[in-house]
């Protein structure tokens, strides 16, 4: 597969200042500040092919957003080379960004006080989209995302899920070749997450559009990505298929229980279950190895022994994933 994104030895460092905590340190920082060099992205290389959906995983502060901003041409790398669709993103920014779309989960492209439809018209002018094309594209996107009824309401009155769907329309109107998604499902409810993931899958399939997705939600990656890159403290610690990542994870899930009765003295640890957190005699978090027992069998087993009032089943937190990768692979997988 011909790579559309080729990243070689990408590094981004920047300077910040340590200000300390408390009144004394704050006062001192007015006169003397300690400079700190942050290695946000540290010599990472990878290539991504046309039509791939690649998830970039990492805990908060790992450097994944910095990496995606450099790929979008919004930040200049400190060193290293990036080639996307034959462009150097930061140097050829103006020509390059017309070929890509981006959704930043925490930064809106919509104009706050006016309806999304007017923001869409702004993008129509920016990208020079012809009228018939704009109309048909808008109809297609609003139908897929089921937001035709909200696009004429002021943005500020929309729910987070509705706004995020409108952000996707903003990013997709000009039919980009590559879509960059930075935490696109952050803060969304389950229904909105499912809709957005379905939309990304369809766009990828219909347009053979390449997607780069940063997230710390393993579910996003499981649902969408063909391939996963894990970044931690600016370093690439894993770069392989989702199947390979699952081998490292060992098919584990976390189950939070709120029991209706005290489970003091009950031993939950066994060959396939481990106690992760015991908040009280009523609230316990267990890690279940689903390679050995299915979640339904596990829940049936527990419900036979104890009554519970609430449960939630979650993927492993990304910090745990990174730890598993380090433990199993001894660090970097090149």
């Amino acid at each position: 597969m011909m790579p559309v994104i080729d990243v070689q030895h990408l590094t981004k460092t920047y300077k910040t200042y340590k200000r300390g905590a408390g009144m004394g340190q704050t006062f001192k920082s007015f006169f003397q500040r300690e400079e700190v060099v942050v290695h946000a992205v540290n010599d990472i290389s990878f290539a991504i092919g046309q039509g791939e959906i690649c998830g970039i995983l990492g805990p908060n502060g790992a450097g994944k957003s910095t990496a995606i901003k450099m790929l979008c041409g919004a930040l200049y790398p400190t060193s290293g080379e990036i080639q996307v669709l034959g462009y150097s993103p930061a140097r050829d920014r103006k020509r390059y960004v017309g070929k890509i779309g981006a959704v930043f989960g925490q930064k809106s492209q919509l104009i706050w006080d006016i309806p999304p439809i007017d923001s869409f018209h702004m993008n129509k002018a920016i990208y020079g989209i012809a009228n018939p094309d704009f109309k048909s594209r808008l109809e297609e996107l609003t139908e897929l995302l089921d937001i035709a009824h909200v696009i004429e309401k002021p943005t500020r009155v929309l729910s987070l899920g509705e706004r995020m769907k409108c952000e996707f329309v903003m990013a997709m109107l000009h039919r980009p070749d590559i879509l960059f998604l930075d935490e696109p499902t952050i803060g969304l409810d389950v229904i909105a997450k499912v809709k957005i993931r379905e939309f990304i899958r369809q766009m990828n399939k219909k347009q053979n559009m390449t997607c780069i997705l940063t997230t710390h939600d393993l579910e996003d990656v499981e649902e969408l990505a063909h391939r996963v890159i894990v970044i931690n403290h600016g370093d690439k610690v894993f770069d392989d298929s989702l199947q390979q990542l699952k081998l490292f994870l060992g098919e584990k899930k976390r189950v939070n229980f709120t029991f209706a009765e005290s489970v003091q003295g009950t031993v939950f640890d066994n060959a396939y279950t481990k106690v992760i957190d015991r908040l009280s005699d009523f609230q316990i978090t267990l890690e279940v190895d689903t390679a050995h027992i299915s979640i339904s069998d596990f829940l049936e087993d527990i419900s036979r022994k104890h009554r519970f009032s609430d449960i939630s089943v979650k993927e492993l937190p990304i910090q745990q994933v990174v730890m598993n990768i380090y433990e199993n692979a001894g660090g970097v997988d090149e």
Partner: protein, 260 residues
């Protein structure tokens, strides 16, 4: 070019819509700006009523200078007024990449999307005061009007350059809301007849930071009081704007965002 015009048109439309969304804020803000700028020439009126004056300059001549200054400020504020605050807020919040994602000159995009409709009050206040003062200074020949128009455009270029330089500083001096006061303190010089200032200040206000072109020189052109050497101050005005654009574009490279 058509694409840029369409974007600007859409930006103006969005600004109007936003103003319409908060009608009371728009009305109150326009009135406060208008009142603040009309009160300022009243001080001049009080000075002259008290029997004192700016030597060599009559009341309506000084009011003419001040009205031209207000018109120029209003026009510049309409077009460039939002650049400083928008840049500052994007840099502080780390959302400037939203601007950089557009296949346009980022400076143009910010200007197009920050059309400050609130400044209409300031501009119209300046126009009203200008008409009032011009009616009291006698007949103005067509040639003087042409000279005035050229110098007025040059003065607006100075204000635009100053706005861009202040906005550029916000890339480095993150979150400093007093940046605009730096510009205001320099601009005050343009509100008064330049000859009342020491020679060094006069030279700086025509050739280095040409704030003399904002109010004083265009008004002097209308009054037929410009000298041949004053025309030399037009070039620095456009150089000043070019410097503002260059510095702003250079400072964009320093943008580092904030943690994601």
């Amino acid at each position: 070019m058509k694409r840029y015009l369409d974007v600007y048109k859409q930006g103006m439309y969005s600004a109007l819509q936003s103003a319409a969304a908060y009608r009371m804020n728009f009305i109150v803000s326009s009135l406060i700006t208008l009142a603040g700028n009309i009160l300022f020439p009243l001080v001049t009126l009080l000075i002259y009523r008290a029997g004192t004056s700016f030597p060599g300059w009559g009341l309506y001549e000084v009011l003419l200078i001040q009205s031209v200054f207000t018109m120029s400020s209003g026009l510049s504020s309409l077009i460039f007024g939002g650049v400083l605050w928008t840049t500052m807020s994007h840099v502080r919040e780390g959302s400037f990449e939203v601007i950089l994602l557009k296949p346009l000159n980022p400076l143009f995009f910010i200007i197009a999307t920050t059309f400050s409709i609130d400044s209409v009050g300031l501009f119209l206040g300046g126009v009203s005061l200008f008409i009032f003062a011009a009616m009291h200074v006698g007949a103005i020949p067509v040639l003087f009007w042409l000279q005035f128009a050229g110098m007025f455009i040059a003065g607006t270029a100075v204000l635009a350059g100053l706005s861009l330089m202040m906005a550029a500083i916000s890339f480095k001096w993150v979150g400093n809301s007093r940046i605009s006061e730096l510009a205001d303190s320099v601009l005050h010089i343009g509100k008064y007849p330049l000859p009342i200032f020491p020679k060094a200040v006069q030279a700086a206000a025509t050739m280095i930071i040409p704030v003399g072109m904002v109010g004083f020189l265009p008004a002097s052109a209308l009054l037929g009081r410009v000298h041949a050497s004053d025309y030399a101050a037009i070039l620095p005005c456009f150089l000043f704007l070019a410097a503002g654009i260059w510095i702003y574009r250079h400072m964009i490279r320093l943008y580092e965002g904030v943690g994601g």
